[in-house]
């Protein structure tokens, strides 16, 4: 196996990015960025602050229009599409934003029902039941359902966001720093939750993280963003064999070694 960010010809990629270029004014964030995501894997995306991890995710999900390049998600082109054209794709992915991005005027259960309401005409009873088991699957206690987002703790906001992301049984899950701001126990529980959900629900996961423990615990492959592109993508052992200075510093720093030992 190589540490190339692209898969060999012919292998199926859930997300395929080629030659992506993003820039804000003079400042170039990504240039000639390539990346593939395999079906069923949990891909961790790491990189220093300002290397455009979130921008990469926003480009893939269509919130950010790239200057150049092609992005295919589930074999559909994402770049240059009108917002309503890509609606079919939106049904097949779930996104957990960094701050949860729950709708503050709706309860947690109503938040989970939003995507259901948008796409399907289900009976209210069935919708409430679906919201219930999604909330339970995301590891929230039943009394979280009727609460408003402002009444939730940080960890519960993430779980509620995850429940909403799972509402439509997505094939593809995007997570933007899911464990940031959680205490180590909550973070570990969240890692386990993601891992078990992936196994049970056949998810493919695109995971942005800073958390070395998360990388070691649940990621099948890790993509490293540096120098405006994905410099390498592979298992952590493969990455450790490279002599890229940032990768070495990241994984062989004191925190990296501590996480590896754990």
């Amino acid at each position: 196996m190589s540490t190339s960010p692209t898969l060999p010809e012919g292998e199926e990629a859930v997300i395929r990015i080629r030659g992506l270029r993003n820039a804000f004014g003079e400042q170039v964030i990504h240039d000639k960025l390539d990346l593939d995501l395999k079906r069923g894997e949990i891909l961790g995306v790491v990189g220093g602050s300002g290397t455009g991890k979130s921008v990469l995710m926003r480009s893939i999900i269509g919130l950010q229009t790239p200057e150049a390049g092609d992005i295919e998600v589930l074999s559909e082109k994402m770049v240059g599409r009108e917002e309503d054209e890509a609606k079919n794709i939106r049904r097949r992915w779930g996104i957990l934003f960094q701050q949860g991005a729950l709708f503050s005027t709706l309860t947690v259960a109503e938040n989970v029902e939003v995507p259901l309401r948008e796409y399907f005409h289900l009976s209210p009873k069935l919708m409430d039941e679906i919201a219930s088991y999604k909330i339970a699957m995301a590891g929230l206690p039943p009394d979280a359902g009727p609460k408003y987002p402002s009444e939730l703790s940080g960890g519960m906001v993430k779980r509620a966001g995850l429940a909403r992301a799972l509402a439509l049984d997505p094939e593809l899950l995007f997570l933007d720093e899911p464990t940031a701001g959680l205490d180590p126990i909550a973070a570990q529980n969240f890692d386990e939750l993601i891992l078990s959900l992936r196994d049970k629900l056949d998810l493919t996961v695109f995971l942005i993280t800073h958390d070395l423990d998360t990388l070691y615990a649940i990621c099948d492959r890790v993509a490293v963003l540096a120098d405006k592109k994905v410099v390498a993508c592979g298992t952590i052992e493969q990455l450790l064999a490279l002599d890229h200075p940032w990768i070495q510093e990241y994984f062989n720093g004191p925190r990296g070694r501590a996480a590896a030992a754990a």
């Binding site: 503050s104 005027t105 309860t107 259960a109 109503e110 029902e113 259901l116 796409y119 399907f120 005409h121 289900l122 009976s123 069935l126 409430d128 039941e129 679906i130 919201a131 219930s132 088991y133 999604k134 909330i135 339970a136 699957m137 039943p142 009394d143 979280a144 359902g145 009727p146 609460k147 987002p149 402002s150 439509l168 049984d169 049970k200 629900l201």
Partner: protein
């Protein structure tokens, strides 16, 4: 891939078998639910033909098993796994907070809460007023260290200078409207000349200040509430406190000072613009030349009217800034609160301005300043 669920036999038959073929997913959930509802209790659900199932499909099957005593046949390993998934996650969750009591009881309860709330807000406003006075006193005692000149000047610009355009335009148009309405009515008595009295006195005594106050409340009072509210949400105000900077001194007093000083200036400017608008109207419509207009204006509008108008202005400015900052400081929790508090700031400020204007009117007429 089409999903086809069909019944074998009719719904009364005891050996009803519900066969699922193809994909049993959320896309077909509504139909599947209806079809399962039509089946008799104790039905058999045959899943051997299912090619794709998601958790919603699994939930429908699981629910039939749980509530209707259905039996499942022909489930593959994956399907079994999904059924197990939803069984584990079956914990009833309420969707919206529970509402207590009957409609009438709730209404009375809400009314009571509203009154208590209003009392609490008024109480809080008085407390805030006190805190602001103490803040002013502290600044007054040691102006060298405590007075934030830059902040105040910046507020002058935002509250005063940048409001000139909109307040000028508004006032000019109001002048035209007063002139036009006055002329139409007074013409019936052949007393068009009194239009000038109307324009002069109503503008200087009441409208100039009042309209300016309403505009400042909408422009700056709301901005104060939104700014302080956002700073409260992002914990900037907490950070300030922990560093030892008083938010009252750093944030509230510059805004209050700016509003108190800018209101009379803006009011005076508004009066001039209104008179200008009225003057141009009477020149065009009634043919009264500007010179005559000014002369007549001087004769009929006592200087006292100007004092009455200008005395009120700083008071209004104070109220607007006080309410705006107070509402901003009340923000807690989420972004929705910022909007709510901003609205409350404008509504309460305009309400209080009109109440105080009425008190002033009674006061001035009882001291004989008619």
């Amino acid at each position: 891939m089409a999903t086809r669920g069909y019944r074998k036999g009719d719904e009364h038959s005891s050996d009803g078998i519900y066969r699922c073929v193809g994909s049993l997913t959320i896309a077909r959930a509504a139909t599947t639910e209806r079809e399962i509802d039509l089946m008799p209790d104790g039905m058999t659900i045959d899943l051997s033909g299912v090619e794709r199932m998601d958790t919603v499909g699994a939930w429908l099957v699981y629910r039939a098993v749980r509530d209707r005593g259905a039996k499942v046949e022909g489930a593959s390993r994956e399907v079994e796994g999904l059924l197990e998934q939803v069984r584990e996650a079956d914990k009833p969750v309420r969707v919206i907070p529970e509402e207590e009591g009957s409609g009438f009881k709730r209404t009375v309860g809400e009314l009571g809460e509203y009154v208590v709330d209003a009392g609490r807000v008024f109480h809080g406003l008085l407390g805030f007023f006190g805190a602001v006075l103490i803040g002013f006193w502290n600044v007054f005692k040691r102006p060298q260290q405590r007075f934030r000149l830059n902040a105040v000047v910046q507020r002058f610009d935002v509250v005063g200078v940048r409001a000139l355009g909109i307040i000028g335009l508004m006032s000019f148009l109001i002048g035209v409207v007063i002139g036009q309405q006055g002329a139409v009515q007074l013409r019936q008595f052949g007393a068009e000349i009194y239009t000038i009295n109307l324009i002069g006195r109503i503008t200087v005594r009441e409208l100039g200040t009042l309209m300016t106050a309403i505009m400042v409340a909408g422009r700056s009072g709301s901005a104060f509430a939104a700014q302080l509210g956002t700073m409260k949400l992002t914990e900037e105000i907490d950070a300030m406190r922990t560093i030892g900077v008083s938010p009252i001194e750093a944030l509230v007093i510059p805004r209050m000072t700016a509003a108190v000083i800018m209101m009379p200036l803006l009011s005076f400017y508004a009066m001039i613009m209104t008179i200008l608008g009225g003057g141009i109207y009477v020149w065009v419509d009634l043919g009264i030349p500007p010179l005559t207009f000014v002369q007549r204006l001087q004769e009929v509008t006592p200087l006292r009217d100007l004092w009455i108008g200008l005395i009120k202005a700083p008071v209004f400015g104070f109220i607007i800034a006080l309410v705006g900052c107070f509402q901003g400081m009340l923000v807690e929790g989420d972004a929705e609160q910022v909007g709510m508090r901003t609205t409350a700031a404008v509504v309460q400020a305009i309400f209080l301005v009109i109440v105080i204007d009425a008190i002033f009117a009674v006061f001035f007429s009882s001291v004989g300043w008619i």
